[in-house]
């Protein structure tokens, strides 16, 4: 009940797969609505609805050029998400670096303890 409306932050805005798709397309540069409609293959009103949500959180900016409305990505609004996930990514990156060392040791052990083993054939069914 006390929760914020789903459109009020960038996290919610990008939770919707179609909206992420729109952001992916816009990552390639500014686009008019009709090109987004084409790229997504869904009806224009639906695209417009998603664009409105993205605009409300500042994830996209819009400008008029003659009769066309052009949308572009605003990376700054998405930075909190990037920061948030990259912290978690950092944890795993560090885990994997330590795992690399463990695996190096295991490979050495295996080579030392099993000199007779030939290359290949490891995946042979047994």
């Amino acid at each position: 009940m006390a929760r914020a409306a789903t459109t009020t932050d960038a996290f919610n805005a990008v939770a919707e797969p179609r909206r992420r798709q729109i952001l992916d397309v816009l990552a390639g540069g500014e686009r008019p609505v009709n090109e987004l409609v084409e790229a997504l293959g869904i009806a224009q009103p639906l695209v417009s609805k998603h664009l409105r949500v993205l605009r409300e959180v500042g994830a996209v900016h819009v400008r008029d050029e003659g009769r066309r409305r052009l949308y572009r990505l605003n990376g700054r609004a998405l930075k909190p998400i990037h920061d948030w996930v990259s912290r978690y990514e950092g944890l795993w990156s560090e885990r994997f670096e330590l795992l690399d060392d463990v695996l190096d040791d295991l490979k050495k052990e295996e080579d030392d303890g099993d000199d007779e083993q030939r290359d290949g054939g490891r995946d042979a069914p047994h």
Partner: protein, 161 residues
């Protein structure tokens, strides 16, 4: 002989409730599996240099349990535990995972190992029951400042109410 540098982990959020972690490792999959399921070896990498691992229990059989606890630098304790659901040695491991700070939220972890040319791609898919729980899990990956992480955790917990 092998160079081990394989780049960083790639974390994606494929859906509202999932996290996927992928990394290539310079070793065949049976060794990756061993490093992932042997307590003495898990103790060497799971802490990610963020603290000291105080508990590492693995009862590797379907229905068996696991529990990892770390005292992070700064004294804060983080614990995770779960139960093994599906075991295909060297290939696939499915288990439940509970972050003990949010005991109500249980995730399903699926580890998949695929080998090519002696190198292994490791994929961990974490499936949560809700987006809030998923977000709380990501927040548990604290890096700089425990308090920040605790604040986020608290936010996530409050949003579950």
């Amino acid at each position: 002989m092998a160079t081990t540098s394989s780049g960083t982990a790639v974390v994606t959020l494929p859906t509202d409730t999932t996290i996927q972690i992928t990394r290539e490792l310079a070793a065949p999959k049976h060794l990756v599996y061993k490093a992932y399921t042997t307590p003495e070896l898990v103790r060497r990498w799971w802490h990610a240099n963020r603290g000291e691992m105080t508990v590492c229990e693995i009862d590797l059989r379907v229905g068996g349990t696991w529990r990892y606890v770390m005292i992070a630098h700064g004294g804060f304790e983080v614990g995770f535990h779960g139960e093994y659901r599906e075991i295909v040695p060297n290939e696939r491991l499915v288990s439940t995972e509970v972050y003990e700070a949010i005991p109500d939220g249980q995730a399903i972890d699926t580890l998949t190992l695929t080998e090519e040319g002696g190198r292994t791609t490791m994929t961990i898919l974490v499936e949560h029951a809700s987006r809030e729980a998923r977000d709380g899990h990501i927040n548990s990956g604290m890096e700089d400042g425990m308090q920040d992480a605790l604040d986020r955790l608290e936010q996530a917990a409050v949003s579950l109410l």
